[in-house]
Every structure is written in structure tokens, then in C-alpha cells.
């Protein structure tokens, strides 16, 4: 595998207001690969994703990001409240050379792909359900035809069936165009279905406590494989430790 065009982060450390959140993070994602970031809540997954995407400059370390068109799905959908679903997707294209009509047309067809039809396209965010907002955010990201796609729990507000469909959509799109993907998730099965490699963040400050590789090509992973793989991963000691319940109720 060549080094060319890879997303690379080395020696990343970061803190907020004196509290260290990330420490000594090393990441290497070859072009066209999918990396999953796993870990308990509040351990810096979102922070790391923002650093990888160039939205946050880390206190320490360097990121190499040889990409032209990054796109995000944020943990909060971050839609413009004063734009309709269609307007929000088109807004992601504001930086392209497309004419306004083309932007709207592309927005509309992208919304259809995430299962939002004509009637929903004209609704404002406050008129959409949580899962619909997430799908609008996903459509906005896919519409720009990114070469780097950063997903922060993009499928978490969806029911199982829809979540599988959206994962499929992302996987096919990414494979077809050779998109490099980094996704943050709490859902091990999502990581096993989509990712080529996964890292587990844990501790305070967050460090990478485990690295996993999932060798079989994503399109060949059937339910049986996913189940077996989840069982294998869940049995790994460091990962069990990372997710051990910290609250005693």
C-alpha cells in the first residue's frame, strides 16, 4: 500500500482549558480506506475527528491531509434553521462552481438517496425529526462528492434498517469514488461493516488503547461474518476494559 494520499496524524495531543483530552495519537489511513474511531463517551473522539478534518489545530503533533474536498457529518446535525432541507444540502455546495439551479437539483436528488422525498425537501429543520435531520446532514456531506469524509455518529439516530441502508449508501459511494473515510461510532457492528481498521480511544487523556484490522473486503461481509467479528473483538481484553461500566447504579 502506498503512502501517497494517505491521511496521517502523528504525535497528536490536545487539551481544553488545561484539561488534557488527547495524548500521543498516531493515525494512518491509506487513501480510499475507512477508519473507525471507537471509545466510551467523552474520551475525545469528536475532538480527534475535528483535528483530522482540520477544524481544530492540535496543541501538539502534525496532521497530513492531502485532500481537496473534505466533508463532515457532525454529531449535532448543524443545519441552518432558516433554510429548508434542500437549502441546507445546497449550502454545502456553495463553495463549488455549480450554478444555483444545479446545486438545488443535486441537493434534491441527494435527499432522495437518503430517503427524503419531495415533500420533506421543503421542510425547515425544526419540522424534521432527529433522524431526518441526520440524513439531511449526510446528504449535505455526500453532495459535495468529497475525497475525505468525516462522520461523527452519522447513523446513531436511525432505526436499525435505515441505519444499515445509510451505511450501505456511504460504503458504495466511498468505494466507487475512492473516498477516504473516518467515522466515529459507539456501534461495534457499524465499525465491523464499514471499516478497514479501527482504533479504540480510552482513558483520560484519551489514548489509543487498541487497534484492529478487519481484513475481509467490506462488500463481502455478511451478517454471519459481522457477528463472529463482533464476538472476536468484544473478547479482546483491552477493549473490554475500555468499555467497562464506570457508573455503578
Amino acid at each position: 500500500m502506498s503512502q501517497e494520499g494517505a491521511l496521517t496524524a502523528s504525535g497528536i495531543g490536545h487539551g481544553f482549558a488545561g484539561a488534557r483530552v488527547l495524548d500521543d495519537i498516531e493515525i494512518w489511513v491509506p487513501k480510499g480506506n475507512v477508519l473507525a474511531i471507537l471509545g466510551p463517551s467523552g474520551r475525545g473522539k469528536t475532538t480527534l475527528l475535528h483535528i483530522l478534518g482540520g477544524l481544530l489545530v492540535p496543541d501538539a503533533g502534525r496532521v497530513e491531509r492531502p485532500f481537496e474536498r473534505p466533508a463532515f457529518v457532525f454529531q449535532d446535525p448543524l443545519l441552518l434553521p432558516w433554510r429548508t432541507a434542500r437549502g441546507n444540502v445546497a449550502f454545502g455546495l456553495a463553495g463549488t462552481r455549480l450554478a444555483r439551479a444545479d446545486r438545488l437539483a443535486r441537493a434534491r436528488s441527494m435527499l432522495v438517496k437518503v430517503g427524503l422525498g419531495h415533500s420533506e425537501a421543503g421542510l425547515y429543520p425544526h419540522q424534521l425529526s432527529g433522524g431526518m435531520k441526520k440524513r439531511v446532514a449526510l446528504a449535505r456531506a455526500l453532495a459535495v462528492e468529497p475525497d475525505l469524509l468525516l462522520l461523527d455518529e452519522a447513523f446513531s439516530a436511525l432505526d436499525v434498517g435505515l441505519s444499515r441502508e445509510m451505511q450501505q449508501l456511504v460504503r458504495l459511494d466511498a468505494q466507487e469514488r475512492g473516498v477516504t473515510v473516518v467515522l466515529v461510532t459507539h456501534d461495534l457492528s457499524e465499525a465491523v461493516r464499514l471499516a478497514d481498521q479501527a482504533v479504540v480511544l480510552s482513558g483520560r487523556p484519551g489514548r489509543i488503547v487498541a487497534r484492529l484490522a478487519i481484513e475481509r473486503p467490506a462488500r463481502l461481509r455478511d451478517d454471519a461474518f459481522v457477528e463472529a467479528e463482533i464476538r472476536r473483538i468484544a473478547a479482546i481484553e483491552t477493549i473490554r476494559d475500555a468499555f467497562r461500566p464506570t457508573l455503578s447504579i
Binding site: 477544524l55 466533508a71 433554510r83 456553495a94 425547515y124
Partner: protein
Amino acid sequence: MANNAWRRLVGGGERLWAALGLAIVVTLWEIGHRAYGDFVLPSPLSTLTALGHVAASGDLWPAVVTTARDALSGFLAATLTGSLLGGIAGRSMPVRSMLQPMATMLIGVPAIAWVVLSLLWFGGSGLAATFSVAVAVGPVVFAAATQGTRTVDGGLRTMARAFRVPLGAMIADVYLPHVLSYLLPALGTALAMSWKVAVMAELLSGAGGIGDGLAAARAEVDTAKTMAWVIVVVALLLVVDRLVIEPVRRHFETWRRGLPGEAA
């Protein structure tokens, strides 16, 4: 059921309620007139008659034009400068820290003091009224624009940055809609203030306008005529508010319809 009917009455009959409010004011006015007599409070009817006389004499229209020019030019200057400086101050801490105390100081100066000062500076030219309006109203616009720009959702700004949205779209789609929700109510207040300050300046400068008419009515000790001029100012204010500010507000706030806490 009863609740529904009540709501329909309130919601649907908006005009009806407005008319009722107006009728109450006129009735109280008439009662006041009967209690205190013609000199203190002329009846609504004789006020209307006085208004007719003013109109017939040909004084009304030029006065309206002059006052509108004074008030609107000052308002426009205040809106442009206030929102531009406010927008910058909202984004830059040093600029904000520098300008905010100044604005607070300017708001503290009584409007009538601005009128006196600008008469001293600009004399009887029309510029005195424009200037008084602009300095009296500008800080109000500035404060709203600053507050609006400062409170734009950081997440949305990050999102726009992530999608590498150009500056123009950033301003038009991320900043403006939010800032306007602060700015438009302030502009309504500012516009109302503009008329008042303009009339005040005209009254003292004697360079024409409704204020000048008021001064003349006072000199003639003609209460009915004074009331007639007051009605003209109020009518002007209402017309411009309904014709300019309200449609703009409506246009920019369609998205709010059905938002929790918003009346339909």
C-alpha cells in the same frame, strides 16, 4: 371546543381587535374632551377639522415630505453605519471593547441635546435634523447588530468553514438571518425614534417640516391644530412601519413559522 372558538376569534379577527383598541382610544379622547373642554383637549372631530384646514392651506404635504426626508435620511445613515460597525464589533473583541462604551455614552445623551448641538453646528440647514436623528438612533442599531453578530451559533460557523463556504455565502446564509432577528425589532424602534427626533429638530430649527408646523400651532395657541400635527406624525410612522419594516420582517422570518414558542 370553546377554547378553539376563542383562538379562532383572536387569531382570525386581528383587524377587528385592532379596530376595537382604536375605538377605545377615541372614546376615551371624547370623554376627556367633554370633561376638560376645547382648550385642553379638542374633540376628535374638531381635530379632524383642523387637519382638514392644514391640508387645504397646502402646508401639509411639504411638511410631510420634509419630515420624511429628515427622519428617513437620518435613519438610513444610522442603519448603515450602525449595522456595519456593529457587525465588525460583534466579530472582533478589541473593536467591540472600544466601541461599546462609546455607544452606551451616546445612548445616554438626551436626544434634545443632540438637536441643540447639531443646530449649533449645522445651523438652520436640513442637515441638522438628519444629523440629530443619525446620532440619536445609530447607537441603538449598533447595539443590536453587535449582539446579533456576537451570538451567531459557533457550530454553524464551524460547519460552514468545514464545507469551505465562501465569505459571501457565509455572510448571507449564516450571519445575516441570525443577525436580522436582532436587528429588525431594533430597526422598528429606531424608525419610531427617528420621527420623534426629526420633529424635535424641526421644531427648534424652524426649517420646515411637521415640527415647524407644531411650533406655529403652539404660537397660535391652537390645540386642535397641534393635535392634528401629532396625528400626521403618528400616521406617517405607522404607514412606513407597515409598508417597509413589516414586509421585510415577514420575508426574513417565514422559516420561524411553527417553531416552538412562535405563534403561527
